[in-house]
């Protein structure tokens, strides 16, 4: 581990964990991005992963992404569940042959010593139905706790990934609880400060969890959400239509942002409990269709490798 002051040590500091991972992956040649400025359910949905995973161009990026899962909200009362939490996401395309070693070194960098801990790669097949994506890989266990998801993307938006990208996703709050040895996310030391200077996760996010849970479960106007869903779906198709020029696409990214909007509205509707099981499936299919159209569009852009 590099020498860093105690307030930056991932064992004392949530932001120290993020900064250490950023530094580590920067040293591996990744571009370090900031979070996408729209709500999404997982770091995978960031254009830097889902779109960049498609097409022939090499790409290495790392970033922390707030992930919004309205149904997981518990008004800040459950020690392990939040409707808003952070994922640290790394994408390496093509997946390098030493990707497992690189990943393990990142764990060493945040203070997990392999001489003391039991690190394991346990089968986990990953699938994201709304993105039309799947891959094979593992959950990575540290002493019986899942600390990351490790996936080799095989398909995204219904298209084969070639070359294959390796995706690493660290669940930051859970990892931090382990490193800081606390039982509840809200108890995490956020800034590594001590005494009066200490800022906890609760100081930063408890009110947010309470208010957002109330909105997600009780207050969100479902009529408006249904409308926004339909609007996003319609706008996505309209953008793709307007952006199509011969064999090229000029607005793949704006179209994809409408997919993010539709998916988030769907998640909010789900949290409000107004989508039945049968309808649920049809909404997921509608979002997947949009994802596929956007993936196809991306492949017709320079970023997607179109000539």
């Amino acid at each position: 581990m590099t020498n860093r002051p105690s307030y930056m040590d991932p064992r004392n500091s949530f932001q120290g964990l993020i900064l250490t991972l950023q530094q580590f992956w920067a040293e591996q040649g990744c571009v370090i991005l900031q979070p996408y400025d729209m709500p999404m359910g997982a770091g995978t949905s960031h254009t830097a992963t889902v779109l960049r995973a498609l097409g022939p161009k090499p790409w290495k990026a790392a970033y922390a992404q707030p992930s919004r899962r309205p149904t997981d909200g518990r008004y800040g009362e459950n020690p392990n569940r939040l409707q808003h939490y952070y994922q640290f996401q790394v994408i390496l395309k093509p997946s390098p042959s030493d990707i497992q070693d690189l990943y393990l070194k990142s764990l060493y960098a945040i203070g997990l010593d392999p001489a003391l801990h039991d690190l394991r790669f346990v089968e986990d097949d990953w699938e994201n139905p709304t993105l039309g994506a799947w891959g094979l890989g593992w959950e990575v266990w540290c002493d019986g706790m899942e600390v990351s998801q490790f996936t080799y993307f095989q398909q995204v938006a219904g298209f084969e990934c070639n070359p294959v990208a390796g995706e690493l996703t660290y669940g930051l709050e859970r990892l931090a609880c382990y490193l800081q040895n606390v039982d509840s996310i809200m108890e995490l030391n956020f800034n590594g400060g001590t005494g009066d200077d200490k800022v906890t996760y609760a100081d930063v996010f408890l009110q947010n969890e309470q208010e957002q849970s109330k909105y997600n479960f009780e207050a969100a106007d479902t009529e408006i959400l249904f409308r926004h869903f339909a609007d996003a779906e319609q706008e996505c198709r309209a953008i793709l239509h307007k952006g199509a020029q011969a064999n090229r696409q000029t607005m793949a990214i704006p179209a994809y942002e409408q997919v993010l909007k539709a998916a988030h509205n769907f998640n909010l509707l789900d949290a409000r409990g107004v989508i039945s099981v049968t309808e649920r499936q049809s909404y997921i299919l509608r979002i997947r269709e949009l994802s596929k159209s956007c993936g196809e569009a991306w492949l017709q852009t320079a970023g997607g490798g179109a000539e």
């Binding site: 020690p79 001489a115 003391l116 801990h117 094979l136 019986g144 080799y152 095989q154």
Partner: protein
């Protein structure tokens, strides 16, 4: 003799695929060796999370020379035929062929084709890449920029060939970006350095030094033995779990077993919940104390020897289990705070099947059906209806949401907790059973009523929407449901005719046949006791058993021979006469004492058998039939059926028809082989 060592070193192979992969590797390589003419003495495959390995011993250095004679056209055949023969046989000129004579066909050409043997290493360098390309992984993937598929990225290939006292050669081949070599690696953390291997012997030893136990069965033994010793030291026993043991052995190359503890206050949870939590999420074993109660301990199998002796690893696992059990406690308390009925409205939102409505609609059908079945199986209809109403309510509880495999069981706990009578609580758990040919069958009347209702509703529902099983496709486990109905009926001795449409009844017949055959009954006997409209499963099973007993006796065998003879004569004569004999025997047309004796015997037996059958006493019916052996034998010895007197002949044929019909009261003996 030379031996082959092959190792495919990869990133972590899913535990559940490992053993099958080792078997496949052995089969693919040895089949290809034999096809190439390389016979071997022994082969054994091994698997760890990171490697598939194979040793094949007693191989020849070369495949043997072979030759084949290929017959050609006649001497003097058209040039076109001769040219074709030369091309096919690879001969330059017809002078290279010999001429053979055949007394019938005359002279013809024969080409002798010699195939020299090939060097084993050369053959292997073609065989091995093909094995890799064709490997039958259930699910495989690509990685990096390659197009090769493997279960997870393949990182190194070792392939050596050589005899014991010589330096082996590396079999030269490439796969994807890899070339075969003789370098492997030890344990990921304890001994990651490259290891140069030569042959299987030094390979196994080197791996063992590098903290890798190659043999999965040895890893299982180590885990089992060490776990039992740790438990014994604390006065505990490990709860045996072969599936978990196999999986855990597939997650480690160097098993290190340790014991952790959890807060005894969690023991307030149903023990099945604790075991499910610890097993499914943590892949740890649970333990019992001397009195058989669940102990607040668990067994961890780590994949490493930690420098602190495992303190940190144990603490980490305990921490995760504490969090998981806290979650379970939270769900359990939450579930208990509401009556089971509370979940019913939510079942309206749960689709059972698009064409069969919601789970709640299904519950309503179950209530009605269980109420109807109850009096037939000795259950109280109101109790059966109550149990059916609550049977699916636990599907909406937090605990079953988290652990679907606890469905039914949690319903039982929650029903007991809210004071439901014991038979209702039991029925909620047991109504899913039996889940297969060896699973426990419900025996209490309330449970039986709901279990039958559950399965019959499933079957009639899917039959109504034409979603029947086809071939190996049975997504709704309808075969299992039908077998469940049959087992509940036969094992509880229930007289319960199945009033279902003919096609579904036929499906029940098929399942019953499979069940009876699996339990050792002869095909033909089962067929002999099932008629198209037999809807009483117990009766069929009882008939089959009685028939089998009868036919295992000498009387039964002889009677069967007599029956066959009678049936053959009847069939022939009925065909000749163009009419059916219906068995009306005229006393005054009986001539010989043997036919009179048989006529009286058949009459008496007919009445007795009919009486026994009416009481479903097939044993007695069969015993009664067996008494016909002597008069039947005597009849065929003394009596000529085809008498010149037409009236006598017709009367005798009627007597045989009467015998046939009497025997058919119990089974269709025409279907019995013999």
């Amino acid at each position: 003799m030379p031996e082959l060592l092959l190792e495919l070193f990869s990133e972590e192979i899913p535990a559940r695929l490992q053993r099958r992969a080792a078997d496949d590797l052995k089969k693919l390589v040895t089949n290809a060796l034999v096809d190439a003419g390389l016979v071997y003495e022994g082969a054994k495959a091994f698997v760890t999370p990171r490697r598939l390995a194979l040793t094949v011993t007693g191989l020849p250095g070369r495949s043997p020379d072979t030759s084949e004679d290929k017959k050609g056209p006649k001497v003097g055949a058209p040039q076109q035929a001769i040219d074709g023969f030369l091309r096919g046989a690879g001969l330059a000129s017809i002078d290279d062929a010999t001429i053979e004579s055949d007394p019938k066909k005359g002279d013809f050409y024969v080409a002798r084709i010699d195939r020299p043997g090939a060097d084993a290493v050369t053959l292997l360098s073609a065989i091995l890449p093909k094995v890799l390309n064709d490997f039958p992984w259930a699910k495989s993937m690509r990685w990096g920029s390659g197009s090769f598929n493997w279960v997870r990225p393949l990182r190194a290939i070792t392939a050596t060939f050589g005899a014991e006292n010589e330096e082996p050669v590396v079999i030269p081949f490439d796969s994807n970006e890899l070339s075969a070599g003789q370098t492997t690696y030890g344990h990921r953390f304890l001994a990651p350095e490259p290891i140069r291997v030569r042959r299987f012997d030094d390979y196994v030893t080197a791996l063992e030094r590098a903290k890798v136990v190659l043999d999965i069965d040895r890893r299982k033994d180590i885990i089992k033995t060490d776990a039992e010793q740790l438990a014994f030291a604390q006065g505990l026993t490990v709860i045996a779990d072969e599936g978990l043991l196999e999986e855990v052995a597939g997650l480690v190359e160097w098993p290190v077993v340790m014991m952790g503890t959890f807060d005894p206050s969690f023991l307030k949870l149903p023990e099945e919940v604790i075991i499910a939590t610890i097993r499914a999420n943590q892949k740890c074993f649970c333990l019992r104390d001397a009195s058989g109660k669940l102990a607040p301990n668990f067994i961890i199998t780590a994949n490493t020897e930690a420098s602190d002796g495992g303190t940190v690893i144990t603490a980490g696992n305990e921490r995760v289990i504490r969090a998981r059990l806290s979650d379970a406690m939270f769900f359990y308390a939450g579930d208990l705070s509401l009556p089971l009925e509370h979940g019913l409205p939510k079942l309206e939102d749960t689709v059972f099947h698009a064409k069969l409505g919601s789970q709640f609609a299904r519950v309503e059908r179950l209530v009605k059906l269980a109420g109807e079945i109850a009096p037939l199986v000795g259950a109280d209809p109101e109790r059966a209806k109550r149990a059916a109403m609550l049977a699916k309510a636990d599907l909406t509880t937090g605990m079953v949401g988290e652990f679907p495999e606890l469905q039914g069981l949690m319903g039982r706990y929650y029903a007991s907790a809210q004071g439901e009578p014991a038979d209702i609580a039991t029925a909620i758990e047991m109504h899913y059973k039996p889940l297969g040919p060896t699973d426990q069958v419900p025996t209490e009347p309330t449970s039986i009523a709901v279990a039958l209702a559950d399965k019959l509703d499933l079957l009639t529902g899917f039959w109504a929407i034409d979603e029947k099983p086809t071939g190996s496709r049975d997504p709704f486990a309808l075969r299992r449901a039908a077998l469940g109905v049959i087992r509940i009926i036969t094992e509880n001795g229930l007289r319960l005719p199945l009033k279902v449409e003919p096609d579904l009844l036929d499906f029940f017949h098929d399942r019953l046949k499979v069940m009876l055959r699996d339990s050792g009954a002869r095909h033909d006997l089962v067929d002999a006791v099932i008629a198209e409209d037999s809807n009483d499963m117990l009766q069929i099973a009882q008939r089959a058993e009685a028939l089998s007993t009868l036919l295992s006796s000498a009387d039964g065998q002889n009677l069967l021979a007599g029956y066959k003879r009678a049936a053959n004569i009847l069939a022939a004569e009925e065909k000749k006469d163009g009419l059916n004999y219906i068995g009306t025997v005229k006393q005054d047309a009986l001539v010989l004492p043997e036919e009179t004796a048989l006529a009286f015997a058949v009459d008496a037996v007919h009445a007795a058998v009919a009486g026994h059958v009416a009481k479903d006493d097939y044993k007695a019916a069969m015993a009664e039939l067996a008494t016909l052996r002597a008069p039947v034998d005597a009849f065929f010895t003394a009596v000529m059926v085809n008498d010149d007197d037409a009236a006598v002949r017709a009367n005798r044929l009627n007597l045989l028809a009467r015998l046939r019909d009497t025997m058919h009261l119990v089974a269709d003996f025409s279907k019995v082989a013999g």
